[in-house]
Amino acid sequence: MVKELTTPITKEDIEGLQVGDTVTISGPILCGRDAVLPKVVKMAENGTVDELGVSLEGQVVFHTAVSPAGVGPTSSNKLEIESSIGPLSKAGIRLHLGKGALHKETIEALDTYGSVYAVIPPVTALLGEKTLEQKTVAFPEEGMEALHMLMVDRYPAIIAAAHGRSIYD
């Protein structure tokens, strides 16, 4: 059975998710990758994240660029992306969406802060049909790697790490 998630995602939503669950994600979601996520982490750590103008609580971060070619997951285990997962979970991000196996420490951090990690197939053409709106939120100088927000309708994903467990084990 497919579990339908809509942002903002609640802690109750997270408690009901298990590794291997197939989900859909709808609503506004954030997008960022190597260049911008460390900057958002820094803002969260120095208490200036409100300047983004969006609440991180219950949000999704999709590890992708946003370009005229569309969207699709980049590897979440790249250094600058994976190192953002713990701090951004602490700041309120409930679901990190990308691809690839994460390290044990990251899976523990997700559990500590009540967040999960899901993988999404790199199906740009299908995701284009499910992306309703997009806008740049911050750091426009990063171009396709800026912090973006998408309005999405039923992005497909599989829960890959939750409650200290990983589908890659």
Partner: protein
């Protein structure tokens, strides 16, 4: 071929690049259908079905299969009586640029001097055509044609691929074992599987990489040599599965090309774990 028309060549090349970035060849579609039918893991089957559904949507819309639209790699085949001029190469280059704008390619070309391009401080070129193609590989063909193959190389396989020496100890199995060992690691690290393993074996890094490129041009998912089938089978036994979610289908096929070799205990082997959309390839006679 004899009546070179600059504008027509530009248009043909642009259209071919769009096909390469948006279309699965029929043998690849068949390979996916076979894999879906054989896959026993439900999550893996779901991924395979979704990738094939994506390919159908991309072909219908002539839109990118993947947002990493890739770096154009070109192979030019030249027949015995054919002549390639500088103007034809310029038309090919312009056709690639126009194809990238039309696809549209992801604008990910980095601007600036050598140092700026290394550390990405020169900024991104907002023009999709700022992604310049890799150097053209030219090879002979017995057919009396000029044929261009365009392949779009994504970043993930480039991160995980490897070109390195293997001591063969006068036993082919030693080389196959090493290819399998490398590939198991590569496939487990690559997020976008199932892979097609592209393998080149040569006398230098350049030659091995060029064999790897040609293996993708010549490869057919319906035709597998014994060595290719063995590599595929053994990597699939690792149970990595599509997107790393476990399953029978880590690898759809292996495309291997073995070049001339030298008297030596060493072979230079290039392996690229081509992602679930690769080879993204289309061909045209100019």
């Amino acid at each position: 071929m004899t009546n070179f028309d600059y504008d027509k060549t530009v248009a043909l090349v642009a259209d071919t690049l769009v096909r390469a970035g948006s279309t699965f060849k029929e043998d690849k579609k068949e390979a996916y259908r076979r894999a879906i039918a054989a896959e026993r893991n439900e999550k893996a089957k779901w991924v395979l079905e979704t990738v094939l559904e994506n390919a159908e949507a991309a072909e219908k819309n002539r839109s990118p299969l993947c947002d990493d639209t890739g770096i154009p790699h070109l192979v030019l085949e030249v027949g015995p009586d054919a002549a390639v001029s500088g103007r034809m190469l310029a038309a090919i280059r312009q056709g690639v640029a126009e194809g990238l704008r039309k696809l549209p390619g992801r604008p990910m070309g980095i601007m600036g001097d050598d140092s700026h391009r290394i550390d990405q401080s020169g900024g991104l070129d907002p023009d999709s055509a700022g992604v310049l193609p890799a150097p053209i590989l030219v090879r002979e063909t017995e057919e009396n044609v000029i044929r261009l193959h365009i392949l779009m190389f994504g970043g993930g396989p480039a991160i995980r691929g490897r070109t390195y020496r293997v001591f063969h100890r006068h036993n082919t199995q030693m080389v196959l074992d090493e290819i399998v060992n490398w590939s198991r690691q590569m496939v487990s690290e690559l997020g976008c599987s199932p892979c097609t393993l592209a393998v080149g074996i040569g006398r230098s890094h350049f030659e091995a990489a060029s064999m790897m490129l040609q293996a993708q041009v010549d490869g057919d998912f319906n035709v597998q040599s014994e060595m290719e089938a063995e590599i595929t089978r053994r990597v699939n036994e690792a149970d990595v599965g599509p997107l790393g979610l476990h399953g029978d289908t880590s690898v759809l096929a292996t495309f291997m090309k073995v070049g001339p070799q030298r008297a030596s205990g060493v072979r230079i082997v290039c392996v690229r774990p081509a992602c679930c959309f690769e080879p993204r390839i289309a061909s045209v006679e100019l």
